[in-house]
Symmetry: C2
Subunit: 315 residues, 2 copies
């Protein structure tokens, strides 16, 4: 946690939150890129800033052909403007401006024994005072190592538990449901946490402030780099075979299927004329499709498939 | 045209059309596979028959690692059962059974100088007497050769013109509109023809029978193999470079984007619990994504991109 950062404490003025939160997210993007470049040891992030026609813009940072990361992106954006008519209609709201900011990450490692990872943290608000936080992290190993899966989920649970006892079980279940590929009848990976529409709550039994939500979102954002680099630095040393690369390419194909067919962020981005290269930076450098591929009985590949299901308790 | 086939003339009994049409389609599948195996000269189609839980089934024929075709599928299916509630609601119809049959093809060649091709011909009817034919062919060259594009469109125009003067211009425009990737602002390839909801028409100015429509659909089905093998047999002899393969992989990535994000058949299949491996046999053996890839100024790759737009008159 970056305790010196003034943007960790939200001011009393709602109109200042946009800047506070997006500034903090931009800092997070930098810290994560630095940590990933250190772990990679070869490639650096290429930085592209872009502007959105309707208002705002972002910075895409993409790393390719590294020692650790074959292709990965760490995106920051802060966009604003008139709320899309479809959203207003859906929410039965009068016209209002929106502001959305966040950091979004997908990393495709070179070594098939290192998992793919995704993280997203975001904030949305409207000029009518509506706001919420959302986000998630999920891990997609090409080969499931139990110790990594346990470490990953335990780390998320520790981060969640600091903020609310209900967070981990609730958000873990949401991730199982969200990161699921119905037509394959398998989860994308071993899940993680997924949350959305987090706002302040003030009931007899539950009192959570906007600052509490923001503290939680920052916790998750800061947890990303240490969790991933720990798994990656361990597994990147393992040697791998041509067959394991082939399997990695097939699993990446499933990643493409999830992102293009089901991922809400991708669909929303493409439908609302977002910056295509930033939205699709989540796609892998190389993906393969073989007809009716089935892993060998008793193989590590088959074991992995057997663990791609909802409801596994890893902690 | 296979004039000895009794299923070329529809009987006077509507209830017999299902069998007549699906039997003819199954024959077409065989003829096309034979022609493609001859052109390939190495690999053979692997045949998988499958049954659909709600009624009917199909035969998927897939070829992999050939001389000409790196991965391709020629699917036949004939499925029936209760019409999906969403379709009945959309059409404001009482419950009715449906029957759908067709042949669907996507071929990904090995040589990047040979184009990807897609063809689909299909028939749909309901127990309430509603029916239509649909289909299309489109060509997706990784490198556009003008002579091939002209030959392809002229061949389709000749096939169309035998049946109605309006077909080629009308269906060519529909293909331009359908095979389009909005988020890339480019067409999938150089288009072709696309048609749907073809039924009998009986007005003062236009009289087209169901038999006329069926004759047209058979014409297109039979045109596929000679058109494609002519282009493929010529271009497969050209030598190619590593850079051209890289470009092919990137173009295949766009093919994946179109099929998973926009293609109606794919979406419908996945949403209605179709056989995943048959639906996704359209995906390439290997596809690549590079961040913000741009072809060199003045290159053949750039020329190709410049021709991926609507409204080009190739005939």
């Amino acid at each position: 946690m970056n305790s010196l950062d003034k943007n960790t404490q939200l001011s009393n003025d709602f109109t200042e939150h946009k800047t506070q939160i997006s500034t903090w997210f931009q800092g997070l993007q930098s810290r994560i890129c630095t940590a990933l470049e250190e772990a990679d040891g070869k490639s650096n992030f290429q930085i592209d800033t872009w502007e959105r026609e309707g208002g705002g813009g972002g910075t895409s940072r993409v790393i390719e052909n590294g020692n650790l990361i074959e292709k990965g992106g760490v995106n920051f954006s802060a966009v604003f403007g008139e709320s899309p008519a479809q959203i207003l209609k859906l929410m039965q709201l009068e016209p209002a401006d929106f502001f959305a900011t966040g950091v979004s990450i997908v990393l495709h490692p070179k070594n098939p024994l290192v998992p793919i990872i995704h993280m997203n943290v975001r904030y949305f608000e409207m000029s009518n005072g509506i706001y919420w936080f959302g986000g998630g992290i999920d891990l997609t190993p090409h080969y499931v190592f139990n110790e990594d899966a346990i470490f990953f989920h335990q780390s998320l649970k520790i981060a969640c538990d600091k903020h609310h006892a209900s967070y981990y079980p609730e958000f873990k279940k949401k991730a199982d449901d969200y990161f699921y590929i119905p037509h394959r009848e398998e989860t994308r990976g071993i899940g993680g946490i997924f949350f959305d529409h987090l706002k302040d709550v003030n009931t007899k039994t539950k009192k959570i402030t906007k600052q509490d939500r923001w503290d939680f979102v920052r916790e998750i954002g800061e947890a990303f780099a240490p969790i991933y680099t720990k798994i990656a630095n361990k597994n990147k040393k393992f040697s791998f075979t041509k067959e394991q690369i082939e399997w990695q390419r097939i699993r990446r194909g499933r990643y493409v299927e999830f992102n293009l067919v089901y991922d809400r962020g991708t669909k929303f981005g493409l439908e609302t004329n977002g910056r295509t290269e930033s939205i699709l930076m989540s796609l892998p450098p190389e993906a393969n499709w073989q007809y009716a591929h089935e892993p060998k009985k008793g193989s590590e590949e088959e074991k992995t498939i057997s663990l791609l299901k909802k409801g596994i308790d890893w902690v």
